[in-house]
């Protein structure tokens, strides 16, 4: 801090003291080499990512005759929402001709319970691992982390057998279990590290106050952990919604998630390739993670701001 005493005497001595040399805020030219470089790079990167999206949207709004003209960058001469309707409600995959809507609802039925269950279990895991240092906690944690590094492919077939044995193969429930299990290591790690960063004395104080395992979890830890829950939710929703491998392996055509159905629509070999429908279907499938990002991004920032208050 500046010394207020010297400043005030200087002002008292002479109304405006003449100052030489640099003073006040440092001038920053708008068009410096540095700015041109930074903004130029960002512009190029933005165009690089936005151009495909533009092509997809434009194409999805054109009719097939217009697409065959070949100008993929030109805006539609005649806007039609026909391809979107078709992609959602009419496109055929296999025997079903009810479009992506079936896959959408399947994905919702898979994602919601998977995200909910995996976060519920992993947060309790992380809490127990960081605060209740039970016997064998370290070994348990090591095993869990080790699990995160095993390639999925190795476990695909054994899990098929296990699910078949317990009668869940091909059902949504089976897929939910798979997602919960495979999400466990990373989400547990996330929560463990977050809880470990909370002050230990808070936990001790709660124990002295007679709170038990669940009381501390629900009344002390949970209210302080909104940001990490949002982070875990973003990770899990996008991961599970975008999953293709588990979906195609552990479900049947009736219960295919949206991603698998999208693939089947886009890659269908019969008939003409309807690019506009494919584009619309792809955008529809990607919409959910996109919305999650936009909605929770705000929540996320707010959550961090709320959690940053020292208690």
């Amino acid at each position: 801090m500046a010394n207020p005493a010297t400043i005030s005497t200087a002002v008292a001595g002479a109304d405006t003291l003449p100052l030489d040399g640099p003073q006040g805020p440092r001038p920053r030219p708008r068009l410096s080499r540095r700015n041109i470089f930074i903004y130029g790079t960002m512009l190029v990167v933005a165009v690089y990512y936005l151009l495909p999206l533009y092509v997809m949207i434009v194409t999805s709004l054109k009719g097939m005759p217009e697409i065959r003209l070949g100008n993929i960058f030109s805006p539609p001469m005649e806007i039609t929402f026909e391809p979107w309707v078709k992609a959602w409600a009419e496109a055929c995959t296999g025997l079903n001709c009810d479009g992506l809507s079936r896959g959408f609802w399947n994905s919702v039925k898979i994602t919601v319970p998977s995200v909910f269950l995996s976060i519920a279990v992993a947060s309790v895991n992380g809490y127990a691992l960081s605060n209740w240092k039970f016997k064998g906690a370290d070994i348990f944690f090591t095993i869990l982390i080790f699990g995160a590094f095993i390639p999925y492919q190795v476990m695909l077939y054994p899990i098929v057998i296990i699910l078949r044995e317990i009668g869940l193969y091909g059902s949504l429930g089976g897929l939910v279990i798979v997602h919960v299990i495979f999400g466990m290591p990373i989400v547990t790690l996330l929560f463990r590290n977050y809880f470990a960063s909370l002050p230990e004395e808070l936990f001790k104080a709660a124990r002295v106050d007679g709170a038990g395992f669940w009381q501390i979890y629900f009344q002390i830890m949970l209210p302080m952990s909104l940001p990490i829950f949002v982070v875990a939710m973003i990770i899990q929703v996008t991961g599970i919604w975008n999953d293709f491998l588990f979906g195609v392996v552990y479900t049947k055509p009736d219960t295919y998630p949206m991603t698998v159905q999208l693939n089947n629509i886009v890659n269908s070999v019969q008939g003409v390739k309807e690019y506009n429908v494919n584009m619309a279907a792809t955008i529809l499938t990607g919409l959910v993670p996109l919305v999650i990002y936009f909605v929770s991004g705000k929540l996320f920032v707010r959550g961090i701001a709320a959690g940053a208050v020292k208690g």
Binding site: P199, A205, A206, D209, G210, A211, Q219, P223, V309, G311
Partner: protein
């Protein structure tokens, strides 16, 4: 015979291979204010956590109010704890913080209201009850933290450096408040600090800890005047005690060619001989006219002066060794001045050179 409120018997605690506390024994009578004082890392917090039940002991027993609580849950021990970082639940209001323990214990609503109101009254935090901890100042937070122990009507209060996050002025204020609280409640209090002023002002008895063992347990007066070893003598007192290195002979304490008479010194175990330390507190050194009344006087040249307002600390050499002493803050001294100073070895402390134990 006064019942012991807290009794620690043969307590051991180790983290893996590291022994933090070893065979520690401590009896704290009902209503005593005991201060655990020691350098950082000596195991004060660890001992407190063991008493609170937040750490499992490796060996030994802990008794509170004639109950063996070695295996009891923290909340079942009749203790309340106040932490250095306050540890208030950030999402609860002050009232929520105060009543959390009572709600967990299943008290009735009316009883909770009454107890919270009483504690808030004692600590003068009534206007703050609906605020969140983030909207409180450091001193207010610490008061709420004390209130959390207060509402539960515990037998023993445990404080782990409750004031060390506060600025000097507030620390002095709250120190007085804690003392007042103790006089009013008459609970047993165990208070960890490494601030010796806090220790001296608050304690009925002080336990000086070092490396997980208690070096000396006694009243502030005892610890100040008759430290059992050189470590304790050095640790207590500010400015720190002077130590002169020398040899005890029949004639007195011989150091750097000077002989300092030792008559009148209360020996711990018969007159000592051989290599020893003589410790003299800076505030027990007289200068000017008063010096002549002391059993040992010498003339020194002032090397450095540290004015501190009420006192002035003067650095010099005595018997060829660095020495410092207090003078009245109003006296004018400057480096190079020659002064006569004097002290009584009888008021000092003598320690064996090897064992550093009191002679």
């Amino acid at each position: 015979m006064a019942a012991n409120s807290v009794e620690i018997k043969n307590l051991d605690l180790s983290f893996g291979a590291v022994n933090v506390l070893q065979n520690l024994n401590l009896q704290i009578p009902e209503g005593e204010f005991l201060v655990l004082l020691g350098a950082s890392g000596c195991g004060k917090s660890t001992l407190l956590n063991c008493i609170a039940g937040l750490l499992d002991v490796s060996g030994g027993q802990i008794w509170i109010k004639d109950h063996n609580v070695t295996w009891a849950e923290p909340s079942k021990r009749g203790i309340g704890m106040v932490f250095q970082s306050y540890a208030l639940y950030p999402q609860m209001s002050v009232k929520g913080n105060l009543s959390f323990g009572l709600r967990n214990a299943g008290f009735r609503k009316a009883e909770i209201e009454e107890r919270v109101a009483r504690a808030a009254g004692i600590l003068q935090i009534e206007p703050l009850l609906s605020r969140k901890p983030a909207a409180l100042s450091g001193g207010q937070r610490q008061r709420v933290a004390i209130g959390r122990a207060l509402v539960r009507d515990v037998d023993v209060f445990l404080f782990d450096e409750p004031l060390s996050n506060l600025d000097a002025k507030l620390r002095a204020d709250l120190r007085v408040e804690i003392k007042r609280l103790h006089q009013r409640l008459k609970n047993t209090m165990i208070y960890v600090t490494h601030d010796q002023i806090e220790a001296m002002t608050l304690a009925d008895r002080i336990a000086i800890m070092r490396g997980g063992a208690i070096q000396q347990l006694g009243s502030p007066d005892e610890i100040y005047n008759r430290p059992v070893n050189k470590y304790v003598a050095e640790f207590i007192g500010s400015p720190v005690m002077n130590f002169l290195e020398g040899e005890l002979t029949g004639a007195g304490f011989v150091s750097g060619g000077e002989t300092i008479p030792t008559e009148g010194y209360t020996w711990a175990d018969g007159a000592g001989t051989g290599p020893a330390w003589l410790g003299i507190r800076p505030e027990h050194v007289a200068s000017g006219a008063d010096a002549a009344k002391k059993t040992y006087t010498t003339e020194i040249a002032v090397e450095l002066v540290e004015p501190m307002g009420s006192d002035t600390l003067v650095w010099c050499q005595v018997a060829g060794q660095p020495f410092h002493f207090n003078m009245d803050g109003q006296e004018k001294v400057a480096p190079g001045d020659r002064l006569t100073i004097g002290f009584d070895a009888a008021r000092g402390s003598m320690f064996d050179k090897d064992s550093e134990a009191r002679l």
